[in-house]
């Protein structure tokens, strides 16, 4: 059946609620933690930023040029991001050591890029779903309840293009930061793994945005690439979260923070002991 206006609105509501919640928690963290709070100072902030931008991007698309079922496919990603943000704030909270504009720009670019990579991944899943229905001749008697393959592919390419540009900027900034890090690469296996994964994601998206020329990747392959790219990016974040404390990840020098709340969903302050010696490595560079 064609999605009725009521259904469309019903599906938009949780997306809009996710955007509002992410922004609200982000602002709450900014206001409730301490005076020295910096945007993106922890992975939780970054995930909240991704969630908010991703939800707003979906809402904008649905407002200006709606794609049936996009909301439905976006909701699991939003749920995942929220859950991860919750975990990152509650169980694996480690603030970044933000001591330069390079790092801030790197983090912002990586998170923004991740948001659009997520959108491309959602579009890829939607494309495969629509294609599968066409090949299985399912519901052909029903009015189309999905956008055309061409439209979904266009969304995929556009999202991948924006994601690729911002990720490229983030990676370049990460390289600059890495070059200034005196720690030998040999001592940073996690970083090498992270860098490899990030480079793979970048490569996937480089192919994706050139799919008109690399036409062998056109269609379902492009969709799978976008999904795989998003999955790899999530894996990169996971590696960042799992990176052990190294000498190249020093505790924040001005650790006069006494109330750094690891849980954005509650007002309970974390102890300084927990914060110390547990600084998080940014997604694509070692500090």
């Amino acid at each position: 059946m064609t999605p009725s206006p009521a259904n469309t609105t019903a599906l938009r509501l949780p997306v809009a609620a996710s955007a509002a919640a992410a922004i609200a928690i982000f602002l709450y963290r900014a206001a409730a933690l301490h005076a020295g709070w910096q945007p993106l100072e922890s992975h939780a902030d970054g995930l909240l930023l991704i969630t908010a931008v991703f939800a707003l991007a979906v809402l904008a698309i649905q407002h200006y040029d709606p794609i049936p079922k996009l909301n439905l496919f976006a909701l699991p990603v939003l749920t995942l991001l929220f859950a991860w943000a919750f975990c990152a704030a509650t169980f694996t909270f480690r603030p970044f050591h933000i001591d330069s504009v390079w790092l801030t720009a790197h983090l912002a670019a990586v998170y923004l890029g991740s948001c659009f990579v997520a959108l491309a991944g959602v579009a890829g899943a939607l494309y495969l779903h629509a294609r599968r229905k066409l090949n299985r001749r399912a519901d052909l008697a029903q009015p189309p309840n999905l956008a055309s393959l061409e439209r979904i592919e266009a969304l995929l390419i556009h999202a991948a293009t924006v994601g690729f540009v911002t990720l490229t900027a983030g990676l370049a900034l990460g390289l600059v930061i890495t070059l200034n890090d005196p720690t030998p690469l040999a001592n940073r296996q996690h970083f090498i793994l992270k860098l490899t994964l990030a480079a793979t994601v970048w490569l996937f998206y480089a192919v994706l945005i050139n799919v008109r020329y690399a036409s062998r990747f056109r269609g379902p392959r492009a969709a799978w690439l976008s999904i795989a790219g998003f999955a790899l990016l999530l894996a990169t974040f996971a590696i960042v979260a799992a990176t052990p404390q190294t000498k190249s990840n020093p505790t924040k020098p001005n650790s006069n923070i006494t109330q750094l709340d690891p849980a954005p969903f509650s007002a309970a302050p974390a102890t300084t002991d927990r914060v110390e010696n547990n600084w998080e490595v940014p997604p694509c560079a070692s500090s």
Partner: protein
């Protein structure tokens, strides 16, 4: 008021009779003129489509035209034997007529279930009759309510969703794959009637290029002319260009009579690279098939054959049937509500007219009594006043009751007088004991029917129903009976067609 429907449609009449009864152009005007001239009190809308010719009439309950008169008029205008027309006709009244119109408007009575064109045709018929001033408040209400209900029903049930024709299904498939067509190339292979019908639908997508090819170039040229394909990017191409066309195409429609597949996997595989892996929709309407099934397994190729399209058409029809069944109760409810509203409107108008008429009677009698009293000697006014008031009251009551009771007296054979008696009892709240008192009164003749007796076929002039007698002192004159004392009263008896 009564609403009548008389007509024929595809369920009751074969196409040759429908053709003969089809009202269009001058013939439609003639029928409208005849109805307007012969039945001035009637509102009329004629719905004429390729599948039906139906006349909707609203008129006062006991007026013309009757269904027989309408059939006679149709038979005469269309030069069709009356019996033939009567046998193939449908006749409906009131709620049934409105329910039928609602079913027609929703496409539930159409040959293609749920088709949307009929609603536009109903609007057109309504506008045309309105322009001829043949639509009054009743048919206005019926048709406006019908159009509103049909739109609502269509949107809530989705009865017109999906496609039933092969051409529109092909277009639907194309829309599931492509977003825009102004940069696409459509190729038609074959020049038969199926190819023509389907290409006509596809051409409506305004593709950037539309090529035709056929083993016989002449037939391809003919088809291009029939489809009005002219211009640099559309028209026939030689059959030898087939590989090139397969490379250029985004949508291929093939419907040839070739005994073996024209497009095989071996032929198409080398072209995929030249096509740069662009998505390709192939609609194969040929039997035997023009496209080898293995082609469907190639990446970015979407192949549908005639069975796929027919299966979609059958599924759509089944869905529409179930939706139509679900919509029927809604339509019946809507028809009943519409008729209830019409009855309310009708009774309101009747009450207003009755009230006005009674006021006119009262004004006329008051003027007469005052004139008479003015001529009276003031000395004896007080003595004469009671008699004058009694006379005034008698005359007024007689005037009020004269017309209905004389109508009852003149009732035709078969009129259910018992119904009228019951109605009078109920409307005027006449209790049983009042009736018994009247019966016991020596001055009043006994009723000729027992309370439970079925209605008498005819009532004589001496019937107790006409028991209002003029005052012994002031007999009613014939002038009084006609209400001629007031010119307005005379006019009240004239029905005026509300428009």
């Amino acid at each position: 008021m009564r609403i009548l429907l008389v007509g024929i449609n595809h369920r009751t009449a074969a196409i040759d009779l429908r053709e003969r009864i089809a009202l269009a152009g001058d013939r439609l005007d003639r029928v409208y003129d005849r109805i307007s001239a012969d039945f001035p009190l009637a509102e009329c809308i004629i719905l004429t489509t390729c599948n039906r010719t139906e006349i909707y009439i609203a008129r006062p309950s006991h007026e013309s035209p009757t269904p027989d008169q309408l059939l006679a008029l149709l038979a005469e205008t269309c030069d069709v034997p009356r019996d033939t027309l009567t046998a193939a006709s449908i006749q409906r009244q009131n709620e049934q007529a409105v329910a039928h119109l609602l079913r027609v408007a929703c496409g539930l009575d159409s040959m293609i279930l749920g088709e949307p064109q009929v609603l536009g045709q109903i609007k057109h018929a309504y506008d045309r009759a309105t322009a001829r001033a043949l639509v009054g408040p009743i048919l206005h209400r019926v048709f406006q309510e019908t159009i509103r209900t049909a739109k609502r029903t269509r949107s809530t049930t989705g009865i017109d969703a999906g496609h039933l024709s092969i051409g529109s299904i092909a277009v639907d498939f194309a829309r599931r794959i492509f977003q825009r067509f102004d940069d696409k190339t459509i190729v038609g292979i074959g020049a038969g009637p199926i190819a023509k019908l389907t290409l006509r639908h596809l051409a409506d997508l305004n593709p950037a290029r539309l090529w035709l090819t056929n083993r016989s170039p002449d037939r391809a040229r003919d088809l291009a002319q029939q489809l009005d394909l002219a211009g640099p990017n559309r028209g026939p191409r030689p059959f030898e260009d087939l590989d090139q066309l397969l490379t250029e195409a985004d949508i291929i429609l093939t419907a040839t009579a070739a005994p073996t597949p024209l497009i095989t996997a071996d032929r198409f595989k080398p072209l995929i690279r030249r096509r740069r892996h662009r998505p390709l929709l192939i609609i194969d309407l040929a039997v035997p098939r023009d496209v080898q099934p293995a082609v469907a397994a190639l990446r970015n190729v979407f192949l549908y054959n005639i069975d796929d399209l027919q299966s979609v058409a059958a599924d759509t029809n089944d869905q529409r049937k179930s939706l139509a069944d679900a919509a029927e109760p809604q339509l019946l409810t809507a028809a009943n509500q519409t008729m209830a509203a019409i009855h309310n409107q009708d009774i309101g108008r009747t009450i207003r007219a009755l009230r006005q008429r009674l006021h006119n009677y009262a004004d006329a009698e008051t003027a007469r009594t005052l004139t008479k009293l003015a001529a009276t000697d003031p000395q004896s006014l007080a003595d004469k006043l009671p008699d004058a008031l009694r006379e005034h009251t008698h005359r007024l009551i007689n005037k009020i009751l004269h017309l209905p009771l004389s109508k009852l007296d003149q009732a035709e054979q078969g009129t259910h007088l018992g119904f009228y008696a019951a109605a009078l009892h109920r409307l005027f709240g006449i209790e049983e004991h009042e009736q018994q008192n009247e019966t016991q009164s020596p001055d009043t003749p006994a009723p000729d029917t027992a309370p439970d007796t079925p209605p008498a076929p005819r009532v004589p002039l001496t019937s107790p129903l006409v028991s209002v007698q003029p005052s012994p002192t002031m007999p009613i004159t014939s002038r009084d009976r006609k209400g001629a004392g007031s010119p307005a009263l005379a006019n009240q008896s004239q029905h005026q067609k509300p428009r």
